[in-house]
């Protein structure tokens, strides 16, 4: 057995380093799950509506890819369909990043060597990272369970199984990351391997679920055996609120133990800083496309951009498919139609309302892209790399604008991708290609000014505060997500709402297109960005 000497101290160190990222991750996930329960209750007020939902989702192939095998008609099973897979994926990604950040990344920067030479056992860093990751998943599960158990309509045992299987999926991927961070010799490579396995498991489950058999009454889907090859599939097949099965839970625990054993075994066989897959060699000469500030920024930002683009596409597509399901339910439910007709300030179309409320919320969540891009920019300065860059004939403005223009372009492209995915998802789900396609695309694009304003605020903080901007950016992001998800439900005061740019995006297409807030936000974004540049050109470069 490996010794645990020093582990506890490293756990405290990791918690201290993650004191901002961890709460925000937890907040985001709780907002996504527990926060959406009220809107589900509103959308499916009676049994008729629930039956309609399940009987339309269960046979749909697209539905099964993103929502799993919908089985049983109650609020809990609908919540499973709408939320489980997504939340599980995000918990998996958060766990993967957390473990690699506190293991491989430390070795990459050399901090691992320093820690390793202190009084800690060889396996302490990995044990500590895993303890933090497992702790995060447990805390998340407990909070989600606590929040859901307050919802009367949800069966408490079902909620316990729901929270437990989410947590176990998260922990499983933490242990996958424990292996990949032994295999690859740098953080990104390790994350890449782990995310690839996540995608692989997602695809297996999606295939297994789409090939599943539907029962005669059309309310239960039995997954194909392929689903049973995937830990995400196991998590789903626990079937909380409709069976609460124990076998998949055992499978999750057993496979996690297996992965952890493998990770510790590899760790005991390798040198600190080394890995199983040695780094590949790269080109000896730079391509001409790299030879400029912009070329370098593209190189540095592209991996992050692609990752987020996938997020934008999936969110956009799923939202549209979900909205279409909602609409079919809505058309079969008198109660809902009355409810919609009575709510003020809308054109009475359920699909429109869904899209115009959900897209700005999703935009706020995906603003994490802007935060990570800005963090990359700040990393250049805090790591001292900027010294080598600005020591050449590269001007400060050019360097600054290379990141700003690239991230702005990234924002526009990502929102367009979200809109396109939404439009196409809707067209597939409803088998109609009509003006809705344009509406959905536009409702994604109207978030551009809010995103750019969000970025400008972070830039201003970056120029004025230099080093401490990461904390600011994540807190501001958490604030915006919080406001977008809860301010409406809990009726928070208007001034708290006004601080988030995302609340000023007009709800298109449910209300008529109002360009005034868009113009004001765009102008403000440009002004703040220029002000940030002005300050940046006149301050000391922060060097270590």
């Amino acid at each position: 057995m490996t010794s645990l000497k020093g582990t506890w101290r490293l756990v405290r160190l990791a918690l201290r380093r993650d004191r901002i990222v961890l709460p925000i991750t937890i907040l985001l996930l709780v907002a996504m799950t527990a926060g959406s329960a009220p809107s589900l209750i509103a959308a499916y007020p009676d049994q008729e509506a629930k039956l309609a939902y399940v009987s339309s989702s269960a046979p749909s192939t697209i539905g099964r890819v993103f929502q799993g095998t919908v089985s049983g008609a109650n609020l809990g099973t609908i919540m499973m369909a709408e939320l489980f897979i997504f939340t599980a994926i995000i918990m998996a990604i958060a766990s993967i990043f957390l473990v690699s950040r506190h293991t491989r990344y430390n070795e990459e920067t050399g901090a691992g060597e320093l820690i390793g030479s202190g009084v800690v056992s060889r396996s302490a860093p990995l044990s500590a990272a895993l303890m933090v990751a497992i702790g995060m998943n447990i805390v998340l599960s407990l909070i989600i369970f606590g929040a859901l158990s307050q919802v009367k309509e949800l069966n408490t045992t079902g909620s316990a199984y729901f929270a437990l299987s989410l947590g176990l999926v998260g922990i499983f991927f933490a242990s996958v990351s424990a292996i990949t961070s032994q295999l690859s010799d740098y953080r990104r490579g390790s994350n890449g391997l782990a995310i690839a396995s996540l995608i692989g498991f997602f695809v297996l489950r999606a295939l297994g679920d789409s090939l599943g058999k539907i029962s005669a009454d059309g309310l239960t889907v039995t997954a194909n055996w392929l689903t049973w090859l995937s830990p995400i599939g196991w998590g789903y097949q626990v079937l909380p609120y409709n069976g609460n099965r124990n076998l998949p839970i055992l499978l999750l625990i057993a496979s996690t133990v297996l992965c952890l054993t493998a990770a510790f075994y590899v760790l005991s066989k390798r040198d600190i800083g080394s890995s199983i897959f040695a780094s590949r060699q790269g080109p000896a000469r730079a391509k001409p496309s790299l030879l400029s500030a912009r070329g370098l920024a593209i190189r540095l930002q592209s991996t992050g951009f692609i990752g987020w683009s996938i997020g934008f596409i999936i969110f956009g597509g799923v939202m549209a498919v979900m909205a279409n399901d909602f609409r079919e339910v809505f058309e079969g439910s008198d109660v809902l139609q009355e409810f919609i007709a009575s709510s003020p300030g809308n054109n009475g179309d359920f699909l429109d309302i869904m899209i115009s409320t959900m897209f700005p919320l999703i935009a706020a969540m995906l603003a994490g892209y802007v935060v990570t891009a800005m963090a990359k920019m700040q990393d250049e300065e805090s790591s001292g790399r900027i010294e080598s860059l600005l020591g050449t004939a590269l001007s400060r403005s050019k360097w600054f604008m290379s990141h700003v223009s690239l991230t702005s372009a990234g924002v526009i492209v990502n929102l367009a991708l979200m809109g396109l995915a939404g439009g196409l998802g809707y067209a597939f789900a409803s088998s109609t290609l009509d003006s809705r396609f344009n509406d959905i695309l536009i409702s994604a694009l109207v978030s551009i000014p809010a995103m750019l304003l969000f970025m400008a605020v972070i830039l201003l903080a970056y120029s004025a505060l230099s080093i401490s901007v990461k904390a600011f950016a994540w807190i501001f992001y958490g604030y915006c997500v919080l406001i977008s998800s809860f301010a409406g439900i809990f009726k928070w005061p208007q001034w708290t709402v006004n601080f988030s740019p995302f609340t000023h995006t007009p709800g298109y297409p449910s209300s008529s297109f109002d360009s005034k807030p868009l113009i004001v936000m765009s102008l403000l974004a440009v002004t703040l960005t220029l002000l940030a540049l002005f300050i940046f050109k006149r301050r000391d470069i922060a060097v270590k």
Partner: protein, 302 residues
């Protein structure tokens, strides 16, 4: 004012970081075509001075002139004419050494292809490795090659060789000598005294943000204590009472001590009375000279 001779001219430079005064009326003059050593204990302000010279930091007060202009606000034009190797070389972990060299040299205004090839060869760098996999010395080589492959007037090198092995140290010194022959100017901050001794025409020594000594190495040495070793028939212990005599040590027959230059004559007069059997004297080693400064610095600190 004629600025023509001096490539770098700093007068009364002060830099405050909040309440902390990192540079206090620092002076530095680097003449065209010389290799200038820039020395001082850790934290004395060498890197800060260099960053002000590059326009990365803003001075609090004083005059700074580099290649004929004030660096703050003119850095783009200036940087086309100089190359810089930072003290802490940190580059992009997923770029190869070769890519980083090309990028930095290109941003500076172009690369001498033949020179690049020769430098990579001489410094035996594998340009295909990702930066994160390089050792400390190899990281420094990347920055050095990027700088030396550019044809500019002024090279500013902040502790460029602290990670190089002795063989590469020789390669480095040869390149600096080559630059000197070509009439280039070099500002070299270093803790390696042998390197300073063999390369530098003049040095500036700073301590706690102020210049304490500046000039030709040989002149500086002249200003310092001469070391004596004597054997005499009479007792030598009385010498310690003479003003300007330090570190007197008597061991068996031999006595050693240091003498301040302005008291040489009085000491010589006293020595004459001791019935000397043997006498040797030599100027201070560079090493001893620096120890004097650095120790003074430490005693002040505590």
């Amino acid at each position: 004012m004629e600025k023509t001779e001096n490539v770098i001219e700093i007068k009364n430079l002060t830099k405050d970081f909040g309440k902390f005064r990192a540079l206090n009326k620092l002076n530095l003059e680097v003449k065209k075509g010389e290799v200038h050593g820039f020395l001082g204990p850790n934290g004395s302000g060498k890197s800060t001075t260099i960053r002000i010279l590059l326009g990365l930091l803003k001075k609090s007060s004083g005059d700074v002139c580099i290649l004929g202009s004030e660096p703050w606000g003119n850095s783009v034009e200036l940087h086309k004419r100089l190359a810089y190797v930072p003290g802490d070389v940190n580059l992009w972990s997923n770029l190869t050494g070769g890519e980083a060299i090309d990028l930095l040299a290109d941003l500076r205004g172009g690369i001498d292809e033949a020179k690049r090839k020769e430098l990579i060869d001489k410094f035996s760098l594998d340009p295909k490795k990702k930066f994160r996999t390089y050792s400390k010395g190899n990281r420094q080589k990347v920055a050095l090659i990027a700088a030396l492959a550019s044809d500019v007037e002024l090279y500013i090198l902040d502790e460029p060789t602290s990670g190089l092995d002795p063989l590469l140290e020789v390669v480095f010194q040869n390149y600096i000598k080559e630059l000197k022959e070509a009439g280039k100017t070099v500002l070299l901050s270093s803790h390696i005294l042998a390197e300073v001794e063999s390369l530098c025409d003049r040095v500036t020594i700073i301590r706690e943000g102020s210049t304490v000594e500046s000039g030709e190495l040989s002149n500086i040495q002249k200003l310092h204590r001469t070391k004596f070793t004597i054997e005499a028939k009479k007792a030598t212990t009385g010498l310690s009472k003479i003003k300007g005599v330090h570190n007197l040590k008597v061991k068996d027959q031999t006595t050693t001590f240091d003498v301040e230059p302005e008291h040489l004559q009085t000491v010589m007069n006293s020595l004459a009375k001791l019935e000397l059997k043997q006498i040797t004297s030599h100027p201070p080693q560079l090493e001893e000279l620096f120890l004097q400064y650095y120790q003074d610095n430490n005693s002040k600190r505590s």
